[in-house]
Each structure stands twice: as C-alpha cells, then as structure tokens.
C-alpha cells in the first residue's frame, strides 16, 4: 500500500469518489515534478562544481552561496534566447523532438521508490516499464537529428540509434539477473528484498548495468552523439532557446533517473541504517552521479565502431553468462547462504573480465575505400 493509495482511501471518506481518485494523482505529479526539477537544477550545479574541482579550477561560484543559483541564471538566459528553426528543417518534427526526449524521462520517476511506500505508482511490472519508457527518448533524439537538416546532427542521430539498440540488450539482461533473485518486477519489492545490496551479490551484473546505463544516458566515455570535438554538438546543434533547455534538462533528468534506478536495483534503494530512508536514497543517487562525473572528468571517448564492439563483444556475452550463473544460483543455492554467492560471483566476475580483455579485439581498423 503506497502513501498515495492511503491518501486516496482517506479522501474517499470525505470527498466524492471521482475527486478522491483524481486529487492524489495530481498531488503526486506535482510532488514528483518538483522533486525532479529541483534535483536536476542542483545536479547541474553539482556537476559543474565537481568537474571544476577535478580540473583544479573553481567552477561557477558567483551567483548565490557557492554559486548555487547559477543553473537558474543559465535557465533564464536560455529561455530568453531567440528560438531558431533551420529554414530547410522539418519544422513540426523539430518542434516535437525536445518533448519526445523530455517526457519519457519524467515518466520514469513514476515508479521510483523514494521511501517505503513513497512511490507514485507501485506497478507490478515496474522495471519493465522503466526499460520500455526510457528507450522512447532515443526516438526523440533521432527526430532532433533528422529535423535539423544538418549533417552533424544526422550523424549523431544515427549514432544514437545504434548505441541505444546495442546497449539496451546488456542492460536488460543484467536487470533480469536482479529480477531472478527478487522474484518480482515491482520496484518496491526489489528494494525490500535487498538485505545485502545487489552490488555485492552481483558485481558483474552491476558493472554491466552501470556501463550500459552510462551509454544510454550518453555520458562520457560513451558521449558519441554530442561528441563536441568531432560532430560539434551532435543532435542539438541546431537548437536554441527553450528547446535547447529541454534537451539540457532532459540530459540531466536522464542522469538523475538512471542514478535513481541504479540506486534502487543495486545499492539497496532507500534501505540503510540510522538515517531516514529518503536521506539514504539521496546519498546513494548523489554517489552514483559523482562517479559518473568523475568518469567524465577523466576518460576520453570511444570511437563508434569500438563502442558497438564493446556492447556486442564484451557486455552482451558477459551479461548472458552472468544471467546463467545467477539463474543457477537462484535455482540451487539455498537462500540462507548469500555469502557463498558473493564469493562465487566475484570469482566469476574477475575470471570473465580477464578472459574478455585477452580474447576480443575492440573495433575494426582501416576500411578500404
């Protein structure tokens, strides 16, 4: 029973039924939206500051204490900019693309459990819903690339499709490993069954899922579709003003959503000692996001064929093997002995990493033209 359902039941005792049905939904939407937008703004500030410190500089620190209002000023500036539509672009698609990118990301938060019971909708197929919805934004990026009538944007759009399709597979396969152990697709069930966080029980699954999601949210070292040194800004090269702001928000919203999902699936969600659950959840998503920023500050990006090779030659087979191992363990290992599983999985993870680093070449070489 989620908090919203309890609220609805209580409202039904005093209000007519239709009002009691609609009000909690509106309240929930407002709360989740407020949380997402606020956190995204804080994340933008946090990334810029943290990236600054990694690069021995300060980062924005002028507006407000420690520059916390800088993203708001940036947002205001972006909103006031002229909205430019390419003359020979596809105007309708150009207009629609930011929406198609941004909305699915907001929808993901419907099934994120922030606390015990604090979930907008505890779907019994929660994780499947996440996987399904999050792929939609790839369509938006493709639309943006197509509608811009720009060669850089088109290259970026084609890269996006390839990347999304490839990385969806290992991500889903590593999710199935988690689902097998929990025995449910519901997000809150997944959290509640993690007495030991799954990052310890399934290290390989976690690494695959983490790398896959980093690729899906187009972060370094997989940020090929906005690779500024190659294709300038990729799909949003022809966007400005509010539409660009939507992409920008979408990018960070994506990062926030996937931080939430990684925290939920592998880090034990809101579970934790002493502190209140919501604080634990925030600590975990900030930790995940910090690692992503850290990677961004250090790593160069892969080439497009290497990126595909990494997905199909490294992550996918490893995810399949991981799935088999977890399935076997779920079938035959008694539930009382999770620590055996930890040892076995760590051993398998290191052996597989060693093997794969020796066996497979990453990407092709020169093409004869």
């Amino acid at each position: 029973m989620t908090l919203l359902e309890q609220f609805q039941l209580w409202l039904a005792t005093i209000w007519p039924e239709w009002a009691a049905y609609i009000t909690p939904a509106i309240v929930g939407i407002v709360v989740v939206l407020a949380f997402v937008l606020l956190t995204v703004i804080v994340f933008i500030w946090y990334e810029r500051r943290l990236l600054g410190r990694f690069q021995i500089r300060l980062g924005p620190n002028r507006l407000g204490p420690e520059g916390i209002f800088q993203p708001i000023a940036t947002a205001l500036k972006v909103l006031l900019k002229e909205d430019i539509v390419p003359a020979k672009g596809d105007k309708l698609v150009h207009w629609l693309a930011p929406v198609v990118v941004f909305v699915p990301i907001l929808l993901i938060f419907a099934v994120v459990p922030f606390d015990k019971g604090a979930i907008f909708s505890d779907l019994n197929v929660g994780i499947v819903y996440v996987v399904a919805i999050s792929s939609v934004s790839a369509v938006g990026i493709y639309m943006a690339g197509w509608a811009s009538n720009n060669k850089y944007a088109l290259i970026a759009a084609l890269r996006t499709i390839a990347q999304m399709v490839s990385y969806e597979l290992p991500v889903v396969l590593s999710i199935i490993g988690v689902v097998l152990m929990v025995g449910s697709l519901s997000m809150s069930q997944i959290v509640e069954s993690q007495n030991i966080p799954f990052i310890i029980l399934q290290p390989l699954g976690f690494v695959i899922f983490f790398l896959g999601t980093v690729a899906e949210m187009n972060r370094c070292p997989f940020d090929l579709l906005e690779a500024d040194s190659e294709i300038v800004a990729g799909y949003h090269i022809e966007y400005s003003g509010m539409k660009f702001a939507m992409f920008y928000l979408g990018e960070y919203g994506h990062a926030l959503a996937y931080s939430c999902i990684i925290a939920t699936l592998f880090l034990g969600g809101w579970q934790g000692p002493l502190l209140p659950p919501i604080i634990w959840f925030l600590i975990k998503i900030v930790a995940v996001f910090s690692v992503i920023v850290w990677m961004r500050s250090t790593l160069p990006r892969l080439r497009v064929d290497q990126l595909m090779a990494f997905a199909w030659k490294c992550l996918l087979p490893m995810a399949v093997i991981n799935l088999f191992i977890v399935a076997a363990e779920a079938l035959w290992l008694p539930e009382a002995l999770p620590w055996i599983m930890v040892v076995v999985n760590f051993a398998f993870a290191s052996i597989l990493t060693l093997l794969w680093s020796r066996l497979f070449a990453l990407g092709g070489g020169r093409v004869e033209v």
């Binding site: 021995i56 990677m295 500050s297 250090t298 680093s357 020796r358 070449a361």
Partner: protein, 181 residues
C-alpha cells in the same frame, strides 16, 4: 586493439583526477583578485615624458606599424618643439621597439592592462593623454631604473612551494579594486 590490461590504465587515470580533487584550485578570481604583473610588462599603453623628448622621431621610425605620429617645429634655442605626438594604440602591437630605440628614455611602456574602449577613436592617444598620471605609470621595460621600484611579480611556480616549513597554497595577489593596477 584489445583491452589488454583490463582497465588498470583507466583506474590509474581516475586516481590522478581524484588526487586533483584535493589540490587547491589555481583559479584567480580576476576583478577581485589580481596577479601582480611583471616589472617589465608591456601594457596596453605608452607613457610619454615631454620634458625629455627632443622630437627626434626615432620612435616613429622604429615602429613597424607606423603608429606614432610626430609633428615638430623648430622653436627657440634651435630645438625641436613637439606640436603633435599621437599614438594609435588600436593598431599598436606592443612590441616595445619604440621604447627600446628612444635615446633619451622619453617613452616607456605602461603597466596597465585594462584599456578597453568602446570606440576605436578613443584608442588614439594624444600628447596630453600620453603623459604620466596616477592611472598611467611606466613599466620597467627597457627602463632599468624604473624596474626595481615596481612590486615583485606573482609566479605560479611559487604555488605549492614550501617555505619555512609551511606550504604556500596561494599566490601573492594585489587586492586593489577598481580601474588600473
């Protein structure tokens, strides 16, 4: 190519960036904090001393761009009197050849570096504007007498130098606000 060393190199690089997280940022927050410029700085202006100038126009001849315009007439005691001394700092490339060539040390580079203007015309400095004043002071470029009187330059090499057992993590800065140095 292969991932031959299974991510050890990636991890090493990540350690380096992580170490930098705890180093002091080298940013100098410019309008509030200012580095002390070199004693020989060739700033965005020239300083002209009318009492020393004989109107020989050596500076004008040595200028690669032909920026210095001098008009003189012969006055009393058979000496040149400078009627017009005009420098177009908008076209000047601050090479310092005029200052070096002046035989009477009548011209010096200025130490200021904040001389942006809204109009190109404002960058053309006349005889009166070029003279020594509070905001227009000469630097030690090719003027060894002025050089020791100026403050010591702040150097980034001194950044994490240890001196007397304590670690310096900030540069010597001049905290003066407002226009000019």
């Amino acid at each position: 190519m292969r991932f031959e060393r299974y991510g050890v190199g990636v991890a090493k690089g990540m350690v380096v960036t992580f170490k930098h997280l705890f180093r002091h940022p080298i940013t100098v927050q410019y309008p509030e904090e200012r580095l002390v410029v070199s004693r020989r700085i060739r700033g965005n202006e020239l300083v002209w001393f009318p009492d020393r100038c004989t109107g020989c126009a050596t500076c004008a001849k040595s200028c690669p761009q032909g920026n210095i315009e001098i008009v003189t007439h012969i006055g009393d005691e058979d000496k040149y009197v400078v009627d017009k001394f005009e420098v177009d700092t908008g076209r000047c490339m601050f090479c310092g050849l005029c200052v070096e060539s002046c035989p009477y040390e009548a011209l010096a580079m200025g130490i200021s570096y904040e001389r942006a203007q809204y109009r190109r015309r404002q960058l053309v400095l006349s005889k009166e504007e070029l003279q020594l004043s509070d905001i227009r002071r000469p630097s030690g470029y090719a003027r060894p007498k002025i050089e020791p009187t100026l403050p010591r330059q702040s150097l980034l090499v001194d950044w994490d130098r240890e001196e007397g057992g304590q670690k310096l993590s900030r540069l010597p800065l001049s905290k003066k606000r407002g226009r000019g140095v």
